[in-house]
């Protein structure tokens, strides 16, 4: 659909009241059981950010901050108000960028291991840099069970691989520097006034649970929950535990 002159891919799936889903940088959520389950109770609205999926990416969009304005236009166009919102990893960061600007679109926020803020000093590495570390090591940091992260690209059709390559490129475009955070976001988080649940994998090596706890304390009404036997994608590694938390919260 066209939003502010931009062609955006927006998937709608399931029945019930709307739930806005902002997927993560690898878009693994789209085929995952967690969304299939949620689609039984909600109508999922799943936009692809500029440069992800088949969404257009004009040059001027360079950061999650820029995307947030596009997404606020999107929720306005769709007439979404007080809609529960789920954001995963990069998508969680986008949700917070939106909510700090105007939180009227959402009633509650569920954030699975979002990026977005820097907590330590210049020499501290708060967020493991996925581009600088060996791919094997990155998988170990990301997954409790790295086997779950393996993808058979050889078996994927070219159309899907094109999406994977676009997503990878766009993620770097928006998040390379400052690496996976917006230095201003921390100063804006007090503006998020809706109930917020942070869900973190106990074994997340990309952004540790300590980072998550500190992050959650920056939002007035935030709660923090740990999922055992999960890494950076608790909603993918432990969907049942994750869904229990989400259903209780929503």
């Amino acid at each position: 659909m066209k939003v502010s002159g931009l062609e955006l891919e927006v998937e709608r799936r399931g029945r019930g009241r709307p739930l806005l889903v902002l997927y993560g940088e690898e878009a693994l959520e789209r085929d995952a059981p967690v969304l299939a389950e949620l689609a039984k109770d909600y109508e999922l609205i799943i936009p692809s950010p500029p440069g992800f999926g088949t969404s257009e990416r004009p040059d001027w969009i360079e950061s999650p901050d820029d995307i947030a304005y596009i997404y606020l236009d999107l929720v306005e166009t769709l007439g979404l108000r007080q809609t529960p919102t789920l954001g995963c990893s990069f998508g969680g960061w986008l949700a917070l960028e939106m909510a700090t600007k105007h939180d009227g679109f959402c009633s509650k926020l569920v954030l699975a291991a979002p990026y977005g803020v820097k907590i330590g000093g210049p020499a501290d590495r708060d967020i493991q840099d996925p581009w600088n570390i060996h791919p094997g090591k990155a998988a170990e940091l990301k997954w409790f069970d790295p086997e779950k992260g393996k993808r058979d690209f050889g078996a994927m059709p070219e159309r899907e691989l094109t999406v994977v390559a676009r997503n990878n490129e766009s993620f770097a475009r928006f998040c390379w520097d400052p690496c996976l955070h917006n230095p201003k976001l921390k100063q804006r988080l007090h503006r998020v006034r809706v109930p917020t649940l942070f869900v973190w994998g106990e074994h997340d090596g990309i952004v540790t649970p300590d980072y998550g706890k500190a992050f959650s304390r920056m939002i007035p009404q935030a709660r923090f929950a740990i999922v055992q036997q999960a890494g950076h994608y608790p909603h993918l590694e432990q969907p049942a535990k994750f869904l229990t938390l989400v259903q209780d919260f929503l």
């Binding site: 040059d59 581009w131 600088n132 570390i133 060996h134 791919p135 990155a138 690209f153 050889g154 994927m156 070219e158 691989l161 094109t162 994977v164 390559a165 676009r166 990878n168 490129e169 766009s170 993620f171 770097a172 475009r173 390379w176 520097d177």
Partner: protein, 389 residues
Amino acid sequence: MDVWHFTEMPYPHLPPVDTLSTMRVTLPSRHYDPKIGADLYNRYLDEYMIADDLGFHHMVNEHHQTATCLDVAAPLSAAILARQTRKGRICILGNPVANRGDPLRIAEEMAMIDCISRGRLDVGFVRGVPYEIFAANTNPTQTVERLWEGIDLAVRAWTSHDEPFNFEGRFTRRRLVNLWPRPYQSPHPPVWITGSSDFDSIKKAAGRGYVFATFLQPHEKVRALFDAYRSAYLDQGLPGGGGTAFMPLVFTGDSEDAAEAGARELVWYMTAKTEPQFRNPPGYVPVELNVKALQGAFSGRTDAMRAMGLEFQREQGVVMYGTPDQVAKQIRRFYDRVGGFDHLLVMLQAGFLDHARTVQSMTLFAKEVLPQIRELARTRPNNAKGAAE
């Protein structure tokens, strides 16, 4: 044909390669001994002086955070050569404008070196190789845009002489651009760019009358790149007159055996190790190539070439070695295969190749190969303006 001496100024004195995971980006500097480094810097500069006497032009480059290249500031080495050499032209290939991020500082430095050398400078601009992205922390998805905004701004600064101008671009913003000094050559030094598959950049370079250079690529690929250049080349009347350049590794020996032994040392450069995440950062190559990478058919630009043997590399023109007549023949064969070219950038030194053998190979080349290739015809502009001349 012009021939340019080149060494990347390597620091090969490392622990055994199989004990290292990488020679680039993350190799700790405890492996660098400053005393050995001092000897190497001076030795490599001495070799440029010898090259100058032998009739070579000079090419220098820069890389960062790597044992393969101690030259971390090409303007510094070019400035030394500007003062110490007398005859050869000096080509910086190039200024990593996307990574360095200050095109006007580059333009100033180039103008200064051009003046000191009394107009012997050729100014290359490069996008930077993939692993360099990490040392500079440049967004890998924007390097082409940064490169061209930087080149166009530098050229404008070199050629504006009457009043300051305003520039509020995407990556550089200055409100009073007014370069001092201006370059010695008019309207400005020859400009070079490098590339290995970006046809848009080749066409931009050709249309602006810049030289296009490519390194260590198989001949069929070079032909496609040079054809693209020739089809878009517009002679803008710049010093040097545009054209194309190719760089192989080159060793010339008294005998075939000696030459092969020398070549085997040079290919150290091609086997330099880099961890996989540094070879192809996201967005460095287009989505179509990354689709191939996901399918396992592409693993960074030069990996396939590295994996092949010396004989294959010689057949492709990537490594040229042999007796003087054999080397001259390989150059002429390559010249014919790629539709001709204008500048041969000879990487005469790499890896452990020591001073004595480097000078020996260089001298043989200058005395016995150079006379055989010097008269090879230059690229003609393939357009109305060029055809009319």
